[in-house]
């Protein structure tokens, strides 16, 4: 039973331990390890345009292959990482970036959650403050009289 449990745990943990799927083929790689490392960095930040939520390094799609090759061509030509990202954005738009840029049209995306959190915190604080028990006002003379009468019975 215990062995079975251990096996299950290993099976569950295995995907997390394995390196992320890599679609980069050996024939695409650059001979210069430093440039290749930069290409991988960039590739992980670029979205494959036909697979919704996979980076071009993880995707086996034809277009992803072409994009990986273009990234390496730009790097060999001497482009900085930012220039390579700009090259791709000029062709595919912001969609191609896995991390969306901070700008007017993405304000809601970036600030929506923090603002909601602040609003919720404010609402909770206000609610708590309202619930603070204030001492009741002292009894009036009439009330005290009535109380005494009730207690007499």
């Amino acid at each position: 039973m215990r062995a079975l449990l251990a096996l299950l745990l290993v099976l569950v943990a295995l995907p997390a331990l394995a390196p992320a799927a890599q679609a980069v083929e050996p024939s695409e790689m650059l001979a210069d390890p430093a440039l290749e490392a930069r290409a991988r960095d960039i590739g992980r930040g670029l979205r494959c345009v036909v697979c919704q939520n996979q980076s071009i390094d993880d995707s086996a799609a034809e277009v992803a292959h072409d994009m990986r090759r273009a990234v390496r061509e730009r790097l060999v030509a001497g482009d900085s990482n930012d220039r390579v990202f700009a090259y791709m954005v000029a062709r595919y738009g912001d969609y191609v970036l896995l991390q969306p840029p901070f700008k007017g049209t993405t304000l809601a995306l970036w600030l929506g959650a923090p603002i909601l959190l602040l609003v919720a915190l404010a609402a909770i604080l206000l609610g708590v403050r309202k619930r603070v028990v204030r001492p009741p006002p002292p009894l009036s003379a009439e009330e005290r009289e009535r109380l005494a009468e009730l207690l007499k019975r």
Binding site: V49, V50, V63
Partner: protein
Amino acid sequence: MRSNRLLFLLPLLTLLVMAGFFGWSLLSGRDPASIGSVMVGRPAPALAAPALRAGDPALTDSLIRSGKPVLLNFFASWCAPCLSEHPLLTRLAERDGVTVIGIAWKDKPDAARAWLKKLGDPFKYAGFDLEGKIALDWGLSGVPETYLIDAQGVVRLHFRGPLTERDVSDRILPLLKAGS
């Protein structure tokens, strides 16, 4: 006390806002999977491609900046949706006199030529892009994709996926009529 009662309306209000958004999404034909195109409204990227048909001159940039609107279509013989839009391209070329340029994407030129021979060839000019390098400059994601380039050489429409009858009648033809 009154503000508390209004608070009960908040979930209902949220529901209404969400229902409104979903309704609008359904009715307006919004496609959340669409990746859009940054090409539309911009001058067309430079065009240079080897000719597909033997004896033709290579495709040059002057073809899409000739002062006449053109339709640029990326296709492949292995692509099934290309088959479905082929009759529309043929009709645009033959009935409406549109200049259609075709580029075979990631397709062996032999296979593309045989495909056109079998189905008919709507392309006034035809080239090929075996490695997909030209396509990248056009922001292509696959085949088929079609661009309408106006007389000034500006991309006006970009269709990802096969053209439909509605694309032709509601978007391509009106723009061509307005332009000429």
